[in-house]
Amino acid sequence: MDNPLLMKLEQFTAFQPSERMRLDELLNYPTKTYARGKEIISHGDKVGDIHLILTGLATRSKTLRDGSRQLMAFLVPGDLCDVEVFILEAMDHDIIALSETTCVLIPATEMESLLTESSSITRAMWWSTMTDSAVLREWIVNHGQRDARERLARIFCELLIRYRIVGGTTDESFPFPLTQEELAEATGMTPVHVNRMLGQLRSEGLIDLNSKTLTVLDFDRLKKVAQYDVDYLHLTRTQRRDGAVAERAADLVPPSNHSVMQHALERVKRPFGVSQD
């Protein structure tokens, strides 16, 4: 099976065969499948294993005393739910499956040894954690500055790209099992308003939502509506059009001028022995 963690981390750096093998070995740990709506990890849990999502979709959420719930992040295949647990005492939020979700449970000790034995895996994990923070910053901007229609549009732009880079989809459609209520909890809207805005995005010819599959019909226009700028995902190798990694989302991610130039320059320099490495 494809290794979504490897596919995600590859966005940042190319791995040696031994490192790829090491990342693939992680998939041999026991897996656990959670039904839709089930808690993968609960607020207050002290977790001994790190949950890597292999298939499905999960969310980070917090519930207030009155029962109202805020969703704060979506976790797609390749995402680590709780890589922080071997540093932090206990989880400060819930992780809940939004569709049937399978995780591989990587012992914290295994993660620690992985991080000490390979500096490029460590750096890639750092990249991943920092990108998660950048995604959260976008979530805050979404709540503070974008209006209802823009908020939904932005979520769809981001999810399409995130599914693409881990091979979760190869076209413009991706699994979207969320109910209106859950989408409302993710965007601070009411479910009725979510439905009204989905209807509008549909009638504008931007998206289609059918039997738990969302299709982006016009990515460029949806991006404009969302004022979406993909920089914050830091898809270094795709922006640089680097190897087969770039192909997965190159049509959605504009090349970064700076990195393309730098990369070309390094290639020219290499035969003369002035490479930075």
């Binding site: 209802a148 009725v192 308003h193 009204r196």
Partner: protein, 80 residues
């Protein structure tokens, strides 16, 4: 729990609620519809429009409209 569908009728036409929501009873569905109307109106106000000519039809899964909430009844309207 019974399932209720909230179909929005407004200046842009009808937005059907295919999915619907499970709620405890009619009173909860009514509250949900009022909240829904208000949230749509508040979005439109931000875009410079106050249009209370629409309504939400609350229907059961067979499509029977159980009751309607006219937008104008979901808010207290005061004009100069």
């Amino acid at each position: 729990l019974p399932r209720f569908h909230f179909h929005v009728h407004d200046h842009s036409g009808v937005t059907h609620d295919v999915q619907g929501r499970e709620l405890p009873d009619l009173a909860a569905a009514r509250a949900e519809a009022i909240k829904g109307v208000r949230s749509i109106l508040s979005y439109e106000v931000l875009h410079g429009l106050i249009d209370v000519t629409g309504r939400i039809d609350v229907a059961d899964p067979d499509g029977w409209v159980l009751f309607s909430i006219p937008a104008v009844d979901a808010v207290r309207l005061r004009t100069p």
